[in-house]
């Protein structure tokens, strides 16, 4: 289900891709592994999710997983990544600090639109392939990636930079990154809700990434609701009898209210079914994560991680019971 080493999690804004990325990092750390959860957009979404202080540009332990595993988190910042890069290759030292004061670093990461993404993806590649004493430092790296609208551009760093930089280390670096992103080591998962816009963007993103030769992993349907009333017909007469049997008043207003709630639910479900079918046509595995009625807290993340490990799609836990 999750064979890759670099898991790129994208999705339309508002679909919960940060939540899914965090749950996946937790799932893959289960059983004594170490994973790295990375964000690149400066939103501090991971810190908010785990209710911690804003993350620095440093790999810090953020959660432990069942069976002795751990999740570390990193907020990659383009400026910091550039400084690290310059320091590594050019030993800038104090001159680097002066440059930062001048705003030069900020400038350099803005000036060449592709450069920023080369730096960010370069850092991710480094973490994914890093080893210590001949062993991989991270079992898996999970990236909370830019949303579907920008993901193709973000991952397709070579095309963008090749146009701008035809020679030099930037070109070499972006080629190295591009090779990893197109290898079986990488898998891009798209998170969606069973709503029209997110599904449309999922379909578009899959087409775009396929055309770029970037491997697509699973489609994650987030916040799926349990399919109640499957195949049953709800009539007012049945509701009256049922309410009476349960010892509730079967007055008209109550029956009418419940009847229209059931009708709205079934309309919604029908729409969700057609969206699900549209997603199935993409030919990628669908993983369904349940809607957590209590919201997503640390316990909720654990639940979602469990569902991801099990491959999803199984019976949705009855969160209403």
């Amino acid at each position: 289900m999750w064979p890759a080493r670099l898991h790129v999690v994208t999705g339309k804004g508002g679909t919960g891709k940060t939540t899914v990325a965090a749950a996946l990092a937790l799932a893959l750390a289960t059983g004594g592994q170490r994973t790295l959860l990375v964000e690149v957009e400066g939103r501090q979404g991971i810190a908010q999710l785990f209710d911690t202080m804003p993350l620095p540009y440093e790999e810090l332990r953020i959660a432990s997983a069942p069976g002795g595993g751990e999740v570390r988190a990193l907020a990659v910042d383009a400026e910091e990544a550039l400084m690290e890069y310059l320091d590594l290759f050019y030993k800038l030292g104090r001159a680097g600090k002066a440059l930062r004061k001048l705003g030069a670093i900020d400038f350099a990461t803005t000036v060449a639109p592709g450069m920023r993404d080369v730096l960010l993806t370069g850092k991710i590649k480094e973490a994914t392939t890093r080893s210590f004493d001949g062993r991989r430092v991270y079992h898996a790296v999970v990236l909370d990636a830019p949303p579907t609208g920008r993901i193709g551009r973000f991952l397709n760093v070579t095309a963008e930079t090749a146009r701008l930089a035809k020679l030099g280390p930037i070109k070499t670096q972006s080629e190295g990154v591009a090779a990893i992103l197109r290898s079986p080591m990488t898998s891009v998962h798209v998170v969606t809700l069973l709503e029209e816009m997110p599904v449309q963007e999922t379909v578009d993103a899959v087409a775009e990434l396929s055309a770029l030769g970037i491997p697509i992993g699973n489609i994650v349907v987030n916040a799926a609701r349990p399919a109640l009333l499957a195949g049953t017909k709800v009539t007012r007469a049945e509701l009256r009898r049922g309410l009476a049997a349960a010892g509730l008043p079967d007055d008209r207003a109550l029956v009418a209210g419940l009847h229209s709630e059931a009708a709205a639910y079934l309309t919604r479900q029908e729409l969700e079914e057609s969206l699900r079918a549209e997603l199935a046509e993409l030919g990628r595995p669908l993983v369904e994560l349940p809607l957590l009625s209590a919201g997503v807290d640390r316990t909720g993340l654990g639940t979602l991680a469990g569902v991801l490990l099990a491959g999803g799609g199984g019976p949705v836990p009855d969160t209403l019971a």
Partner: protein
């Protein structure tokens, strides 16, 4: 209790010429903008244009929009007024700006430059800037009674406010000049450390990115040089329009804590920028139809029916009702928190719909829900 937002009063007010819908992604901003525009045209007889950024395909189709063509098209099937709609073409808008500020030969040179090509389609903030630029253009034609703008789904809902200044700063190119000027290190000024650092920086950048890239960059900067003033002026002009009384901002959000946190942030920011906030549109609000029955009672009754092993349809319905009742409680709580923290911001609520909107009737329903 904060005041109720009266969207109709705003749409009917002839002194209001611009309505901006902003807020986090995924809350129905585009649909709300389209619904407000349709209502302004149909009910208030205003000659209206709606500028959408990235509409869902079927919503775009319902407005008769099939491609990005940057031209307002009349929407068919509008009763009693005229509504035009357009989708923003970011690249073309940028090209138009360049053409408006420079001679055709210079413009050709700019269009051919790889930096321009990258920036006009990928620079973060370009879409936001171009949306505001398009708004300025539409306003300048004086052709419309009312312009309704949807804002781009940004990393931050505020990007469209900041983008013009950021782009102007970028194009002002002090750093660009520093980078491109031949390094003249040495000298005894107090700035010598900085000069030495920047000389080193220039050298490093040369090494990393290569001379070819710098040549392109240099060409780009000198070609744009004549336009800096124009860019800045336009950005400032648009900013002033947004502060004017003729503009009304609607913050659109869903009753969820993340969305409302962003809406709160936005309300504060508009206040700081002295931009007129008309109110909050709370979209996708759930409502119970059988309020007499609480979530707990409903779940208990469903459990009784499970025991009896009969009435599965009623048991299922009771669970649906319980989930809805729980959701309503949560939504009411976060909405109440927002109202308490922002007692002067008028609020309107729109009920969640069972299906997505993709025709004018759906937009009419939303418009009606919004205003009463």
């Amino acid at each position: 209790m904060p005041p109720q937002l009266d969207a109709d009063a705003i749409l009917a007010d002839n002194s209001i010429r611009i309505v901006v819908c902003c807020g986090p992604g995924g809350v129905g901003k585009t649909t709300t903008a389209a619904a407000l525009a349709l209502r302004a045209a149909e009910l208030h007889g205003r000659h209206t244009v709606v500028l959408t950024i990235d509409p869902a395909r079927r919503l775009a189709q319902s407005l008769g929009l099939v491609e990005l063509d940057n031209t307002p098209r009349q929407v068919k099937g509008v009763a009693g007024g005229e509504l035009f709609a357009m989708m923003l073409d970011m690249k073309r808008t940028f090209d138009e700006v360049v053409l408006a500020h420079t001679d055709p030969n210079r413009a050709e040179e700019i269009f051919a430059n790889p930096f321009y090509q990258a920036m006009s389609s990928t620079f973060s903030g370009t879409q936001e800037y171009m949306a505001m630029e398009k708004l300025g253009q539409l306003r300048a034609t004086n052709e419309w009674d009312l312009i309704v703008v949807d804002t781009p789904p940004s990393r931050s809902a505020l990007d469209f406010l900041d983008a013009p200044a950021r782009l102007a700063r970028f194009l002002d190119g002090r750093m660009l000049r520093l980078l491109l000027a031949p390094a003249r290190a040495g000298g005894r000024s107090v700035f010598s450390l900085m000069t030495a650092a920047s000389a080193m920086f220039t050298k490093v950048v040369h090494k990393i990115v290569g001379a070819q890239l710098l040549t392109d960059l240099s060409g780009f900067v000198s070609a744009l040089d004549s336009m800096f003033g124009g860019f800045r002026e336009r950005a400032e002009q648009t900013y002033r329009i947004l502060q004017d009384r003729e503009t009304a901002f609607f913050v659109v959000a869903a009753p969820e804590s993340d969305a409302l946190r962003e809406a709160a942030f936005f309300s504060r920011r508009l206040g700081e920028e002295r931009m007129p906030l008309a109110g909050l549109i709370l979209n996708k609000v759930h409502r119970v139809e059988a309020p007499a029955l609480s979530a707990d009672e409903s779940l208990a009754a469903a459990a009784v029916l499970d025991e009896l092993g009969d009435h599965t349809a009623t048991a299922g319905t009771l669970r649906i009702h319980a989930a809805l009742a729980q959701q309503t409680v949560r939504e009411n709580r976060v909405a109440a928190e927002f109202r308490a923290a922002h007692p002067t911001v008028p609020v309107a609520t729109v009920a969640a719909l069972a299906s997505d909107v993709h025709d004018l009737d759906g937009l009419r329903d939303i418009g009606a829900a919004l205003t009463g």
